[in-house]
């Protein structure tokens, strides 16, 4: 092992250590602590001045009380399940909206494709917060959408969209759409047109060729896009709190309330640790998909 290679590996290792493992260690430690009226608002704290005795006291003060508490109060379970449900439904909705967009982009004339790609990425140039706020203006009872639908005579009463799960779905689909479109586009763009001609030649209609050839061959893009939407949507906080109102239950919101309203850092940390553990599963599946794809391309 020469020095240069060691150095190359060392850089990402240190990066991960400093920016992921150390913060995670701190959060894990707080989740094992107890709430206290102090600064910081938990106990025990490590007292190195007391020497070996201080370290012993520190470790004996840690326990799994908060984890037990989470199983006792059904708010947390319901919040986790509701988050999973909202993330799953929004991922599906993003796929349904994103696939035709990606398909259209891949089928568009070559010279148009960079422009279309730009248009998909363009919203990122504006602050995420401002874009979510502007949805309030669109979806609220006196918002543009209701005005338009009332003006067209399609509805008599304004629709109640804001402060419901519907608004959350719309917000997530809108925000995460590029994460779905781009991997699917990348998969479809590589698709050899003669494969579809071959399918037609062998007796497929256009529709069945799409389901039998196009969709299976864009599977890797669909999986990648779905995870890229599902994983951040699971812990989403801004969209449900701005668009979803008080009735929408999502674990990101619960976490925020525990941390800032209750100032219960240990419980908030526990919620975060469990959320992370839940997310590890889809992240591992995502990595496996990427790995398999790389092997296929070799």
């Amino acid at each position: 092992m020469n020095f240069r290679r060691l150095f190359l590996i060392l850089v990402p290792c240190l990066w991960l250590l400093a920016l992921f493992l150390v913060p995670f260690g701190i959060v894990l430690k707080i989740s094992l602590s107890d709430i206290a009226l102090a600064i910081p608002p938990y106990t025990p704290t490590l007292d190195l001045a007391a020497g070996w005795e201080g370290v012993r006291r520190f470790f004996s003060g840690l326990d799994f009380e908060n984890y037990q508490f989470l199983t006792q109060d059904d708010l947390y379970w319901r919040a986790y399940l509701s988050s999973l449900k909202i993330a799953a439904i929004s991922t599906l909705a993003t796929l349904i909206v994103g696939y035709p967009i990606a398909y259209g982009m891949a089928r568009a004339p070559r010279e148009w494709q960079p422009l279309l790609m730009m248009l998909v990425i363009l919203p990122f140039w504006t602050s995420f917060l401002i874009r979510v706020y502007s949805w309030i203006g669109i979806l609220s009872q006196e918002g543009y959408l209701n005005q338009l639908l009332l003006g067209l005579g399609l509805i008599d009463q304004p629709l109640m969209i804001i402060n419901t799960n519907w608004a959350v779905y719309i917000g997530i689909v809108y925000t995460y759409l590029p994460f779905m479109v781009l991997p699917i586009y990348a998969a479809l763009e590589k698709l050899d047109g003669s494969l579809l001609e071959a399918a037609e030649d062998l007796g497929c209609s256009r529709t069945s060729a799409f389901w039998l050839v196009t969709v299976p061959l864009s599977k890797a893009g669909i999986i990648a896009g779905s995870f890229l939407v599902f994983i951040p949507a699971l812990g989403e906080f801004v969209i449900p709190s701005l668009l979803g109102g008080s009735k929408t239950l999502m674990i990101g919101k619960v976490l925020w309330e525990e941390f800032f309203s209750n100032r219960d850092w240990p419980v908030a940390s526990t919620v975060a640790v469990i959320l992370l553990l839940i997310m590890v599963i889809p992240i591992i599946l995502f990595q496996r998909n990427e790995q398999k794809q790389r092997e296929m391309n070799q």
């Binding site: 003669s194 494969l195 030649d201 062998l202 007796g203």
Partner: protein, 379 residues
């Protein structure tokens, strides 16, 4: 069918009672302002191995895509068994195509690739397995049925593509540059294999190629195309021996072209006056060449004899000096410069050791050929 030497010869195109399986009737195909196929008429008969030969952009691929149903003619009709098939979509035609890129489905195994078309047909499930097995045996792929296309070699991929396009037993199989991606040795083996399979299955094959050697090897008839037109349709030997134009003579194999003026000597023989002070070339009269008009004399290098002494019995004898020798092992091609500055190629088999060759660079030599060795062409 025609009879020759008492042996049964396959030549349905010579039989006026034979109905063609495919008939192009004055077909024109335009893409915008570009004319890909220009008023083309052509008959292809059942069980033929028909080659479309031409340089890239000559329209041969467009012609094939019209047969497959991916393009429709702008004008004219394409008939299959006497019925116009212009309106029939590709998935409803009894025509299958083997794509140049093979277009194997990368997400399916070899078995599923071959079964793909059968599963879309009314064939009962139980029979599909048998048919796929038959195709796997025909193309010697039994051992690879479970592999995916990226796990097999180029030659095997080519055979999967062939098996897949043959599985539905099409009336007509289209092959688009089927051997373009194979190396030379494999290509030669595959050509014979392809002919073998064509004979076994009795399917009509139409092959598109830009490789004249390939077309000559596999085809029962060759159509030479240029700029959306068919220049000549004939059996490989006739295309080679009696091309109807300089274009065909030049496209197929190596040829010497000499420009001159035709003068009838008799009904059978014509003189070509090609240079001041040189004796005229004597060749067999071509009825299409009018007496006294400019014409071309085309002769293959292997039909030109080269000798250090003046031959006495040849109809045509010209003197020159050896400019270049291309040694190809079994044969050598001599580039001989004539007194007029023209260069004529002569080819001989190397039946002696090279050290015993009686002439070399810059030596005076005599070129000679008989009066039937070349052809006289109008254009």
């Amino acid at each position: 069918m025609a009879q020759a030497n008492g042996k049964h010869v396959f030549a349905p195109w010579e039989d006026p009672n034979e109905k063609p399986i495919i008939r192009f009737g004055a077909v024109t195909k335009r893409f915008g302002t570009f004319t890909a196929i220009d008023n083309l008429t052509l008959d292809i008969y059942a069980r033929e191995f028909f080659a479309l030969l031409g340089p890239s952009g000559c329209g041969k691929t467009t012609l094939m895509r019209m047969l497959a149903g991916f393009e429709t003619p702008s004008e004219g009709t394409i008939e299959m068994d006497g019925k116009d098939i212009a309106a029939v979509p590709p998935n409803k035609r009894a025509v299958n195509m083997m794509f140049q890129s093979y277009a194997l489905f990368p997400h399916l195994t070899v078995y599923d690739n071959i079964a793909f078309g059968l599963k879309r047909s009314p064939m009962p499930k139980a029979d599909i397995e048998g048919r796929v097995g038959e195709m796997l045996r025909l193309t010697r792929l039994e051992a690879f049925a479970k592999r995916k296309s990226h796990q097999i070699s180029g030659g095997q991929r080519q055979r999967v593509a062939l098996a897949r396009s043959l599985a539905k037993a099409p009336k007509l199989l289209l092959l688009d540059e089927p051997m373009g991606a194979l190396d030379k040795r494999l290509r030669q083996d595959t050509q014979f294999e392809l002919m073998d399979i064509q004979e076994k299955t009795g399917t009509t094959f139409v092959i598109v190629t830009h490789d004249q050697e390939e077309a000559m090897t596999v085809a029962s008839r060759v159509a030479v195309m240029d700029q959306g037109r068919i220049v000549q349709v004939a059996t490989p030997d006739r295309i080679y021996e009696t091309p109807n134009s300089v274009y065909v003579a030049d496209f197929i194999g190596d040829v010497n072209i000499i420009k001159g003026n035709a003068r009838r000597r008799s009904d059978a023989l014509t003189e070509i006056h090609w240079a001041e002070g040189q004796p005229p070339i004597v060749g067999t009269t071509n009825a299409a060449v009018t007496d006294g008009t400019p014409c071309f004399f085309a002769i293959r290098p292997e039909k030109v004899a080269i000798s250090p002494e003046r031959p006495t019995d040849a109809a045509n004898v010209i003197e020159g000096t050896v400019l270049d020798i291309a040694y190809l092992g079994n044969i050598s091609t001599y580039h001989v410069k004539l007194a007029t500055g023209e260069i004529v190629k002569a080819q001989t088999t190397n039946d002696r050791r090279i050290a015993r060759r009686s002439f070399t660079w810059d030596d005076k030599v005599w070129l000679s050929w008989t009066d039937t060795a070349g052809v006289i062409l109008a254009e």
